[in-house]
């Protein structure tokens, strides 16, 4: 669900966040209107507001794990983790994490990729969030959810700054609640 449908309708911060995102046409290929969050993270007010909205939502939900998806999820998840007193867990492309990992495959438009998490990072029964900048098909978030569930964590919610039309009208992704701040800019 979008923030505006869940208590933040008319919140001026949402417009500021949306306005701070840049649309780059035909990246990475023709026909894609890329939602570029680098102009959000370089806008201190928009960036702070983004983090504050997530922190306000999650601070009293007994979350002990915030997992962020490489690489843009790393720009948002750690600050949220710090503010709510949770651990930050990076979910990475193959071969990046040293030591023992578990791995989950997911579909790309053409082909497959894998997401890895450290063994032992998360304990059974911990309550977790998954954070990324944007959700399109939900493939990566679903892989992230599966990794956490495989080790017995409870994924409380998946949260993204931007939700693409494929997920519009959906409140859940793979059985888990999905929370998004804004729709894509045109």
């Amino acid at each position: 669900m979008f923030a505006a449908e869940n208590g933040l309708k008319g919140d001026p911060r949402l417009k500021g966040i949306s306005d701070s995102i840049t649309v780059v046409p035909h990246f990475p290929k023709p026909g894609i209107m890329f939602q570029d969050i680098t102009t959000l993270v370089s806008n201190p007010k928009a960036f702070k507001d983004t983090i504050d909205i997530f922190v306000d939502r999650y601070r009293d939900m007994d979350i002990s794990v915030v997992a962020g998806v490489e690489a843009r999820g790393f720009m948002f998840a750690p600050t949220i983790a710090l503010a709510i007193g949770a651990k930050f867990i990076p979910l990475r492309k193959p071969g990046k994490l040293p030591g023992e990992v578990i791995s989950e495959a997911y579909e790309l438009e053409y082909g497959k990729d894998r997401l890895e998490m450290h063994v032992g990072a998360v304990q059974r029964g911990e309550r977790a969030l998954v954070i990324d900048d944007l959700v399109a098909t939900g493939g990566t978030l679903s892989a992230a959810t599966r990794l956490l569930e495989r080790v017995g964590a409870e994924v409380v919610e998946c949260a993204c700054v931007i939700g693409l039309p494929e997920v519009k009208g959906r409140c859940r992704l793979g059985g888990k609640p999905l929370y998004m701040l804004v729709e894509p800019r045109q």
């Binding site: 370089s42 201190p44 960036f47 983090i51 720009m75 750690p78 600050t79 983790a81 030591g99």
Partner: protein, 182 residues
């Protein structure tokens, strides 16, 4: 309101240092990899890490915190947010959409490139460059060059860990380096 009690710098650094895990022979034999993911699993150590950087930089009029992909994206944004600066990601090739400038740097075998968005920073802005670790200094010096090419004043490089035997500090030229753990 009670005054906040902050542990001494030495106590905080001691906990940060202990929280870092060393993984032998990663990514290849002979390398003792400094793994900061275990620091990130200790909320107090992670908070102390950010606080130590914020305490140092909050009154230095820093406008920009540039973070190097990908582990610099973990430490850079919390610092930027706390000091009211922009966060600017320095990325591997072809990741940033739109117009970029690019700087090549040496690897042990071969070269790689680092990119920054055109227009992300302005001439005269004061910047930090942040990464988890400095080894040879190759990536940090590429980031410094990118920022200086557009007229930014790189005030300091900030890393959690330094590997002093690799002499990365020398590769930064006249730029100071601040680290928590050597």
């Amino acid at each position: 309101m009670a005054a906040q009690i902050v542990d001494s710098t030495d106590d905080r650094i001691s906990r940060i240092s202990s929280s870092i895990r060393v993984i032998p022979d990663f990514p290849k034999p002979g390398i003792m990899f400094q793994d900061i993911t275990t620091l990130l699993l200790d909320p107090k150590a992670f908070k102390d890490t950010i606080d130590l950087f914020v305490e140092r930089y909050k009154d230095q009029n820093i406008n920009v915190v540039a973070g190097i992909e990908a582990r610099g994206f973990i430490f850079g944004p919390p610092i930027a947010l706390a000091i009211g600066a922009k966060f600017v990601p320095m990325r591997k090739p072809k990741k940033l959409p739109g117009e970029v400038i690019s700087e090549e740097y040496s690897l042990e075998y071969g070269t790689d490139k680092m990119e920054m968005h055109v227009g992300a920073v302005k001439a005269g802005e004061r910047a930090l460059v942040v990464d988890d670790l400095i080894a040879t200094g190759g990536t940090l010096s590429a980031a410094i060059r990118l920022l200086e090419r557009v007229g930014v004043d790189v005030v300091e490089c900030a890393c959690v860990i330094e590997l002093p035997e690799l002499k990365g500090r020398d590769r930064l030229g006249d730029k100071p380096l601040f680290v928590l753990v050597s």
